[in-house]
Amino acid sequence: MAGRMVDISKRWGFHGVEALKNASPGYKMLMGLFALLALAGVAVGFQGMFVGYHHVYGVTRQISWGLLISTYIFCVVTSTGLCIISSIGHVFGGEAFMPIAKRAVFMSIMFMFGGFCIIFFDIENPFRMAIWNVFSPNFVSNMWWMGTLYGMYLVFMIIEYFFLLEQNHSLSRLMGFFGLVVGIAAHSNLGAVFGMLHGRPFWYGPYLPIYFIFSAAMSGGCAILFFTTLGWRINPEIMNQRMERAVKAVTQVTIFLISVIIFFTIWKIITGMVSEGKQLVIMSFLTGDYSINFWVFEVFLGMFLPLYLLIRSRGNNFNLILTATGLMMIGIFFMRYDIVIPGQMESVYHSLGVVEEANLLTYTPSFHEIMVSLFGIGVIGLAYFAGEKMLNGHQLEKHEIVPEGGYICPGCGAIHFMEEGETEEDAMKRHHRIW
């Protein structure tokens, strides 16, 4: 047994529970905090399940998807995003992105798992789901595809991660590719879960499936930066020249993607203002109940501030990147919330002009919903901090993942490729003139 542990430790960079024991007291406290959150959340969740969700959740007949679905979406968007951004490197061979792969795939799995933890307490009969999803599938239901595709996605990501640890480069790349394809299908389909509801003009249309993909990529970039720079604060040794270059590359991509999302948001607002079905909701973003969510969290924290800070960081001021992406994660959470809840605010009978539905519907998350969301977040946080220690900051111990024909540059630590008849030195010179 012990022999095998050593073996795994060497190959996988697995430091075991020992590493946790050696962590600083502050680190242990932080982990304890997340563990407590997760435990408290799961306890409150089961208590809610026991007394009946309708007593303890804030969702109603008309606003039947609340904070839990929002947090679930936050988790799966981030998960898909991590997969998309990391695949630039280890699936499509974008050299600069390669070093982030292990941490990204690990966190992608954890976010997906956290999302499932939350949805478990949202669905009224989660156990029936396992049975009837299989025995009575509805192939035209987006919801069915969501469960199925995300399930497959999780499996692919886990296999991919295994091969990443094994450093079986070609198989991890293959699985990464399948994971990406299924992930994108799953995620755009999640947009379609909303986008294909006729009676909900705020959601209806092809906007959401498309937006979800770009938005996921943005979240993914943000999450990679956040978790990598946080990892650097935990253990500065994880930064080497390769990693620095990767962070820089991801920063650039993230800046670009924030701009794309700003563009999406502007047009959502402008087109929404002239649409009969959306106008009320859009106005509540601009000046009404959701204006703080929208302007402060979504626009300022989620987009403009991180855009400014990331540009200023030039991709190498890690503290600034950490702050920017940390705030951005909060902003992104509100972006998800602002998709889910406002889409249900206008009653389907509002347009009939009846007294009962003259006002927009309201929703406030309940204590139970907040705690169950924190259960998911706690699980993810715990997994992250445990992962940083036990998996040695997601560094590779023995081999590096080096594609065919490449080698690790002794100067910068990046992977370089030699051309026909070139020596390593020539190749290095050639590369460094460009970079």
Binding site: I123, N138, M146, G199, V354
Partner: protein, 275 residues
């Protein structure tokens, strides 16, 4: 299929120019044989359709048959509703609807500046859509369209409680029932009444004014058939733009013409079961 006392060939063309071909097609697709319904917000009357059909040499194919038999349907004569909510109570007791839920409700519409009336009541319930968004949305086929009657029903044991159908329904007709551990909705009283041989639903038989008339749309002698297949009064459906092909029809229902169509059946209380 025979139409009651309407001679199509003598009807005047009411100006088909104002109705585009697309709208006509939409109208035909609503699953109706003939009716003056709102389609996409515009009023389309039978005259226009028939006129076009004749003008183009019978090129427009009227939907001749309803997709279900019996094709259950409800016509709501809006002006007759007095908001007594006897139907809501009857529905609750018939179908064991919990206090915090409802399968049907009465909406209130207020008018100002009108001379005849200031308020109107609009009963709403599941429309048993022919093109039901809830059925498409359900991941486990826990909600389904009955192939015989067209009633949209629930198979509670399959419901995972994801609530997608509640959001998919454009008529707010569904709620999660804790007692059933599943989403619950109007089933035209299939389980409690129709399947036991009754011909009326709880709500329609409780309605003292005949605002709710329930029946079989495929039977020309049935009251709902008569109410839908007439020209004098507009018949419409709620949210036609969602293209759900609803089976709850609305009309004002207080005109003499309706009285005439219904012949011996009384204006105020139609005694629908006699039809």
């Amino acid at each position: 299929m025979k139409f009651p006392k309407i001679n199509f060939d003598n009807l005047k063309n009411e100006g088909t120019e104002s109705v585009t071909a697309q709208e006509r097609r939409k109208f035909l697709k609503l699953g109706l044989a003939v009716a003056g319904v709102y389609a996409g917000g515009k009023i389309l009357s039978l005259t226009s359709i028939v006129g076009t059909a004749h003008a183009s040499g019978g090129g427009v194919d009227l939907v001749k048959r309803y997709p279900y038999n019996p094709h259950y349907s409800m016509v709501i004569r809006q002006s007759l509703c007095i908001d007594c909510e006897k139907c809501v109570d009857a529905c609750k007791s018939t179908n064991h609807v919990p206090d915090d839920g409802y399968r049907t409700r009465i909406l209130t519409k207020k008018y100002s500046g009108t001379l005849d009336k200031q308020v109107e009541f609009i009963p709403v319930l599941c429309n048993h859509c022919n093109n039901a968004p809830c059925v498409r949305a359900c991941p486990t086929r826990a909600t389904y369209k009955d192939p015989v009657t067209g009633i949209v029903r629930m198979e509670s044991k399959k419901c995972i409680g994801c609530k997608t159908c509640m959001l998919a329904c454009p008529y707010d007709a569904r709620y999660f029932s804790v007692e059933r551990r599943a989403v619950d909705k109007c089933d035209f009283c299939w389980e409690e009444r129709l399947s036991k041989g009754e011909t009326q639903t709880g709500c329609s038989s409780a309605c003292p004014t005949g605002a709710r008339t329930f029946g079989n749309l495929t039977d020309p002698d049935n009251i709902v058939y008569k109410l839908v297949h007439q020209l004098e009064e507009q018949v419409w459906v709620l949210r036609p733009a969602d293209d759900t092909k609803p089976n709850i029809f609305y009309m004002k229902g207080n005109m003499r013409s309706v009285d005439n169509i219904l012949n011996e059946q009384k204006f105020k209380f139609s005694a629908p079961q006699k039809s």
